[in-house]
Subunit: 333 residues, 2 copies
């Protein structure tokens, strides 16, 4: 019989937590004992996993005893309980931003830098959702032609702000259609029939933290902080799957055809790029899927060595749950 | 008494045509005789202008006799009737793409190249909606620091595809909420809860015609085809007002503060850029307005001389009707 691993999911009731449970099942992760934790507010609720019912426990310092892997869905629990996970001898795979730029913590996208997992000291960070899909797409181009500069504009789904945000978009869409007053709770403004060019808090040079994540995390994952990256991140009224318009400048010339071939061979990428047949990636058709979809692959007409691409991936899947479970798979390999 | 001008609006019943009538009134254009034309399908309908009722006439070669200004809302009528407008001695202000790149036809944005109006030979072209708002924003930067390269990603409202498209988004939003089958007519795919990275037909190098318009029209309006421009155009589930993430590289250095001051002084621009107060341009709050809203003004962290900006404007207003009426104002000045 194959070895099984005891797994605790912290934040199990949220959008990412629920997706982690689905992905553990779909990818047949060898789960031994399973523990589902959340805040006191959710404690006592019942969730199902592979036909068995589990009672949600409040996360405490003791939640990690006897566990091998602790999957943290995100939020403030990560910082609070990291030392307890490590003390218990489990490995934390963390979806929050708390440790991502810590030089002691590997920041891992399994298609890109799987080797980084080896250097962990009890904590492995899962990158930001927008970063994960971009770096999967950039990797084959970087390997072939070395990235010089990346300019990205995002079109981010409401799922990135959790379950309440998904519900908020539905309620707002209803209110807009019925010409009723639109309630606002999760986002700073109405998102239905609108765009909000503001994700996470504002920081240095008036860029948002979300924009800086795309810069710093990408440089760390690719192991090259000479790659120049600038980002503009925007929330759009789409339920699920983030989209990105990525402009890439490379050191050596790469044609659109060569880029298509590189993407087609790269792990975790599906090329959807057939203008004649109106085939290109779209969030509606990329949801509930684990891959990163790349299309609209064009040589940049404005410089000698550049590309424009359009990249879409399910933010809750590859952008969070799938990537975390893939890291767990690397750990037990 | 001030001189009045006889005006014919061709395509009066469409989204742009209706907006032209509103703008003529709001801006107190000295309309003498007014004639409202459209296709045979709309002929006989009644429309109101300044409290008077008008019967829509089918556009014919004779529609321009006795007219001073012919405002064409767009579509195939422009090519069909251009020679008749010129023969009648009227001036055509054309919102279609038919003549925009014709070297004999001025392509005019009044805040940017008003002097071009003088060289007309009976036809003046109104640029593409995405181009108009971008070029208004680029102009003060170009004058101060000379544009070297522009990389733009658009977030275009459904209003750009006309009234049927606006109705389609409403119907699809309802269907999504009620979990009913979503009907598709105007766009190639469902646009509610989705993004479609495809506007107009595909062309050279797999860029769409919409993307090439942003390149070629901008170069023509700014009178400088050495400016390198590349575009990715995307339809978003927003009713009205296009948004654009614009990355700008300049010949000389310009700080974010200098850029803000230039924008604040520039005609037709309203700066909305106060991160501390969560103030930035958004399509929901830019609709039914004539100005171009610019915010998220940041120095580009990835190069020495560059900026990132976020630009929003009502596609039916400044992107079409307002710009056309402004051209008419230049003509009679």
């Amino acid at each position: 019989m194959n070895k099984k691993y005891n797994v605790v999911v912290v934040g199990a009731t949220g959008a990412v937590g629920q997706e982690i449970l689905k992905v553990l099942t779909e990818r047949e992760f060898p789960v031994g004992e399973l523990r589902l934790c959340a805040t006191a507010r959710s404690a006592g609720k019942i969730m199902e996993f592979q036909g068995k019912q589990y009672t949600i426990e409040e996360t405490t310092a003791g939640s990690f005893n006897g566990m091998d892997i602790a999957l943290f869905a995100g939020g403030s629990a990560s910082k609070e309980f990291a030392k307890d996970v490590v003390a218990a001898g489990a490995v934390m795979i963390d979806n929050s931003s708390a440790f991502r730029l810590d030089p002691e913590v590997p920041l891992v996208v399994p298609e890109v830098n799987p080797e980084a997992v080896k250097n962990h000291k009890g904590i492995i960070a899962n990158p930001n959702c927008s970063t994960i899909q971009m770096v999967v797409a950039l990797k084959p181009i970087h390997d072939a032609a070395k990235l010089k500069r990346v300019i990205v504009s995002t079109y981010q789904a409401v799922s990135g702000a959790g379950m309440e945000a998904i519900e908020e978009l539905t309620q707002q869409n209803k209110a807009v259609i019925n010409e009723e007053e639109v309630g606002i709770k999760v986002f700073p403004y109405q998102i239905a029939n609108n765009l909000i060019p503001h994700i996470d808090i504002f920081g240095e040079l008036d860029y948002t933290k979300e924009e800086w994540k795309m810069v710093k995390e990408t440089q760390k994952i690719l192991g090259d902080d000479t790659i120049a990256i600038t980002a503009t991140t925007v929330r759009v009224p789409v339920y699920r799957s983030h989209s990105e318009s990525i402009n890439i400048e490379t050191e050596t010339k790469i044609t659109a055809q060569e880029a298509k071939e590189l993407f087609a061979k790269a792990p975790g990428i599906i090329v959807v790029d057939n203008p004649d047949k109106k085939e290109y990636p779209m969030p509606l058709f990329s949801s509930n899927k684990d891959e990163v979809f790349v299309g609209r692959i064009r040589e940049d007409n404005s410089i000698e060595k550049g590309l424009n691409i359009w990249c879409v991936a399910d933010q809750l899947r590859k952008g969070a749950a799938t990537n975390a479970v893939q890291i767990a798979e690397l750990l037990i390999k």
